[in-house]
Symmetry: C2
Subunit: 694 residues, 2 copies
């Protein structure tokens, strides 16, 4: 499944959902924005024009990040970690841009990123009635199939060219369905990235911490017909950055939150999926860390994977802590009891919603039964490596593409194919060593989780050890060649059936069982959960009203808040850090080593220049790269993280301690100017001004 890799910038605590969002809480829909609340608290009410501009000036990186247009020439500002894969893909053993940074001095030096897709949201429409009509009165499984079919149909009708991307989005876990139509850009080129050492200064030890000193920044540019795209709506640069307590907005694409899940779903996470994912990540982290110690090249090729693993690991660990927090979960449990009591007390509500919660409990119990094989054969904990995922896509597509659009797996519906083929035909380098490492790990876990006597395990391994099989497959597979992949894609089922490539063969071997367990999951878990979650959502509308925000869905949201420190262990954490702090924190040893460029520029930098800041904006993983802007729509920061207290934000928001962490606009542009001498970009961000002259 070509699932977006949501960058786990994540957001802990306390305020449950279901009721009405309080304070600065909320990841609001653009078309349901609570201007009255902002007005009440901050004396500023965003109007339709303001919101429309923000919508068009905000972009999504389809594989899991946010960004913003910052010039009329298609310049997009995002995080370094959002373009990390591109930076690595453009690097070689000889020239490592992750280490040394990248700057295209002229436009001609801008280089295409093999796998980045940028989406600009042009239209939102409500398709709730159409979806509901298609599923009305159907039992769980048919409900699920009919809903997916209708979504694929709507999306196909909408996406009249590859330049458009259309996604039907399920909001409130089923209470509303909106169609999101995006302008799609696949010609995206790298413009600028600093050295990883400053982009991720402090590394994993400082990740999800504040105070912080990171230039987690990159610029990319969207092209149209081989020229920079002309962009009407983009964010201007703030002349002086944000003040303490100033009102701040963040637009972006929070990947997902679980604030309104039922207790049965939360317990499943706490007891089953979260421990399983965390333990897998922890072990893989150990493997990759040790692999990176073998030598420079091993270090280089494993750095990105290790970053994402450590990032997810820390985020999930924070989430598990929240799930184990009796106070938070006690509150959620009480809220659910209260809602259920209100439903039961009203005969009309009871007849419509009375059985929904128990139906979800039942489905989650089924999920417990099938979780291991489902996770290992079909979902995230299974066979994962670049090459294997390509093989799986080829095998699946050969089977699915001949089917009518509405009958296919959702990830292979027509409107999804441009993103699928971009990844499949990517020219990004593939490293045998790393592929072998990952497939060895995957196959070992497959045997560990399902057992050495499991028929599928026996079929897959035969008499070979996981390592032996992984080595043989990766060293002999032909699908490392883009041409071979193209031929298999174009040749369809006949070509795939005839292929004796070891990875294609493995994917073919696994596919029937993977499909079977997926069907079981979709029919017995996903179907009933979807259908009954829609009922739960509606019961909330009926009981509490509908003026709330839905859980995050990797679609555009705007949050409001303010620049603000917080109290930690009785000490005030101030909201701004400075360049001087970075130099003080540096030890010269990774991950606390400043790059040479910064050490060389130290004299020309004012140590008081603000570097990072924190705000009360409600964000989470997927908001990485989001612009922070003031009420005039001017950039005052670039989101790249949340504080450690924000890690439970997946389940609830606590304004007293939950903070978004951003690069300060002044530190950002000063670094571009004084450290990197990236004049071309500075001029583009602030036409006809210079840093000194503002």
């Amino acid at each position: 499944m070509t699932q977006a890799r949501i960058i786990a910038l994540t957001a802990l605590l306390v305020t449950g959902f279901t009721g009405v969002a309080r304070a600065d809480e909320g990841m609001w829909l653009l078309n349901q924005f609570p201007s009255d609340r902002v007005q009440a608290r901050y004396k500023f009410a965003p109007d339709q024009e303001w919101l429309h501009h923000v919508q068009l000036a905000s972009v999504r990186l389809a594989r899991g990040c946010s960004g913003s247009f910052v010039s009329a020439q298609g310049l997009v500002m995002t995080n370094h970690h959002c373009a990390h894969s591109c930076i690595e893909q453009l690097s070689t053993k000889e020239k490592d841009f992750v280490k040394s940074g990248f700057y295209a001095k002229t436009q001609a030096d801008e280089v295409k990123c093999p796998e980045i897709e940028v989406n600009d949201l042009v239209e939102i429409s409500d398709v709730t009635q159409r979806i509901e009509k298609a599923t009305k009165g159907l039992p769980d499984q048919k409900y699920n199939d009919a809903q997916k079919a209708e979504m694929s149909k709507i999306e196909k009708e909408c996406a009249t060219s590859d330049k458009l991307r259309c996604d039907v989005v399920t909001l409130f876990h089923g209470g509303q369905y909106h169609l999101y139509k995006y302008r799609r850009y696949q010609d995206v080129r790298l413009v600028f990235a600093p050295e990883l050492a400053i982009a991720f200064f402090g590394g994993d030890p400082d990740n999800f911490n504040f105070p912080r000193y990171d230039l987690d920044l990159s610029f990319i540019r969207v092209y149209e017909n081989d020229a920079p795209a002309n962009i009407e709506h983009y964010f201007r640069w703030s002349p002086k950055g944000p003040a303490d307590e100033e009102l701040t907005f963040v637009s972006g694409h929070p990947g997902g939150t679980d604030r309104s899940l039922t207790m049965a779903e939360l317990q499943f996470q706490r007891e089953v999926s979260m421990p399983a994912m965390l333990l897998r990540l922890a072990e893989l982290r150990g493997v990759l860390t040790e692999f990176g110690r073998i030598g420079e090249e091993e270090k280089r090729i494993s750095t990105e994977d290790l970053f994402f693993i450590e990032n997810s690991y820390k985020a999930f660990k924070g989430e598990l802590e929240a799930l184990n927090d009796d106070k938070l979960m006690g509150k959620k449990s009480a809220e659910e009891k209260d809602l259920r009591a209100k439903i039961d007390a009203n005969p009309d509500l009871k007849s419509r919603y009375g059985s929904a919660f128990d139906a979800i409990v039942k489905a989650e119990n089924k999920y417990r039964e099938i979780y291991k094989p489902y996770a290992m054969l079909e979902r995230g904990n299974g066979l994962r490596s670049k090459l294997y995922e390509m093989a799986k896509t080829l095998v699946r597509a050969a089977e699915e593409r001949p089917k009518p659009n509405e009958k296919r797996f959702r990830e292979l519906r027509d409107s999804a194919l441009p993103a699928v083929t971009q990844a499949l035909f990517s020219s990004a380098p593939i490293y045998d060593q790393l592929e072998i490492l990952q497939m060895t790990f995957n196959l070992t876990k497959l045997r560990e989780e399902l057992g050495a006597d499991d028929p599928m395990v026996k079929k897959v391994l035969g008499k070979e050890s996981p390592e032996e099989l992984a080595k043989r497959m990766i060293t002999t597979t032909k699908i490392k060649s883009v041409d071979v992949r193209k031929k298999l894609w174009e040749g369809g089922k006949k070509a795939v059936d005839a292929s004796d490539d070891p990875l294609i063969k493995l994917a073919k071997l696994v596919d029937p069982d993977a499909r079977a367990i997926r069907k079981k999951y979709e029919d017995e878990v996903e179907g009933p959960v979807k259908k009954n979650s829609e009922l739960v959502a509606k019961s909330r509308f009926d009981v509490f009203g509908s003026s709330n925000y839905p859980d995050a869905t990797f679609t555009l949201r705007v949050s409001y808040g303010q620049v603000k420190g917080w109290m930690e262990n009785g000490k005030m954490v101030k909201p701004f850090t400075s360049f001087g702090g970075a130099f003080e924190r540096a030890t010269g040893r990774p991950p606390f080593d400043l790059p040479e460029s910064w050490i060389a520029s130290k004299k020309s930098l004012d140590p008081k220049t603000p570097f990072n800041l924190c705000t009360t904006n409600d964000i989470i993983g997927g908001n990485s790269g989001s612009p922070v802007f003031n009420k005039s729509g001017q950039i005052v920061g670039l989101i790249f993280d949340g504080n450690i207290e924000s890690l439970g934000g997946n389940y609830g928001f606590d304004e007293t301690v939950n903070r978004a962490v951003a690069v300060h606009s002044e530190g950002l542009i000063t670094a571009l100017d004084k450290v990197y001498h990236a004049d071309r970009i500075v001029q583009e961000l602030r036409p006809k001004t210079t840093i000194g002259a503002r």
Copy 2:
């Protein structure tokens, strides 16, 4: 802390404690053995003489295993994995006995194990009154200190020579206190061990599984005055092994169970300590796995550590699953509520026990607050490597030994010193590479858990990276030399204060904070928990009677049960496996590769020879190496594992699925005879008989 490494042979499910043990459940005290129950179920009532013989013929390996005397000449049978460390310590790069096996053809070839201590229990006495008198009426902290002081005093009075080891054991978490007096053997020599490939055939994938095909066996011998010790009480060999459904006994030293813990303590495990330990083990597993791939020697020196990590990991994972099992925990919760209701309903009980449960809740909440620094600086999740632990022992001992025996840390009381010095002055090899790997990991975790800004982390790391510091310390420390360690031990505080050895310096740097957090733990967690657990235990005696068994405490217990298969997913698992099954299962690739000796002997082996078996005996980690014997006291098997269902046995026993796994006596002696031609041992086990002639 020189904590016994309990071999996590572990024992899942359902039957809670508190009430009366049912069916074959129970790890019974030798001096409170329920002969009447055995009689009622199996028509055989062990008498005092029988129990006395079993007591003296059963031994403990002080670092975490069980064993049995099997000849008059001090021959001890235990598991391969219980002697694994010795086998590895006697190996070199050139001669790897772990891989090739070890057999001393003559007595003169038997080689001393540097770190094995064997304990034979000679006497049990009840010291409950003496302990209670010493602590009567004291508040939490003083209660704890006074109890420890009295224990150290009793032990010192009892241990009149280094040949004796005396431990006061807390039973029922404080309901009773017994003094265990052991004959101590520190001259222990390796006699026989098969190749790891057959000792642990199936490796981690098959660990905690059944059917099984393992010869997890070693023989060691206890010496006295440089000659084999004369042993009066030892187990004879069964002429024909056990039959299906035959009554079986297991004597041994189950390390610890948590069946009668309060809900607050179980929740702490589920939410805090268990996830923390598991995640650490998972990551370290990944690190060591990858390290072992570097080359043959890296593989060799990391094999034992990896085995123990994987074994504990799988066991803890099973335990966490049990803690997350709503059925099991719901039952325990209901039982606790019931007990508390009974206490509250009776004014006398209420006045004595009414506040005990809430006091434990409070202490566990405090434990949550201090867990991270306590675990990182003082307990299991912190700085661990052979060398660092030696440095810590030297620094601590220099401070503690001048104090009166009763005032010292318990692990440095007089009666504990022979075991401490055996480990400290061990000639076992130490590998720089592995020490660096472990210290790098430890220091990285220290920074990760406490944060880069923690004052202790800053003191420890300074400007160095964890890897840099680890390398510098391990490559320059002088305490790799036994002589240097001896001098520091003998030189005491003066020598330690004067030392500028980097590891000694690190231990000195950490010690004040480690002592402070330990004191906090002992005063605010351990003290109140101990004092109130004693009350909970007594309330159970008062409400339910005292005819039950206490949670395991790494002291001698006897369990009864029978040879029996079980139903798994609707299929019967038979209780015996055979040699033939091992040959069928072999793939030729680790860990399913039979050693050359077995392949060469295949023709001379009857494939029907029974190899492993399973029984209903209630065992857990620490029972590794326990003898399985029939009512005539004859050896019919050798415990080495439990099935996967037994992993929740830490919290409760379910006779329908919980199984102990053992090597069958006939398979064992046949392998000795036909595969290893270990005639000397075969004769010693079965004097004047031969395999063929029985």
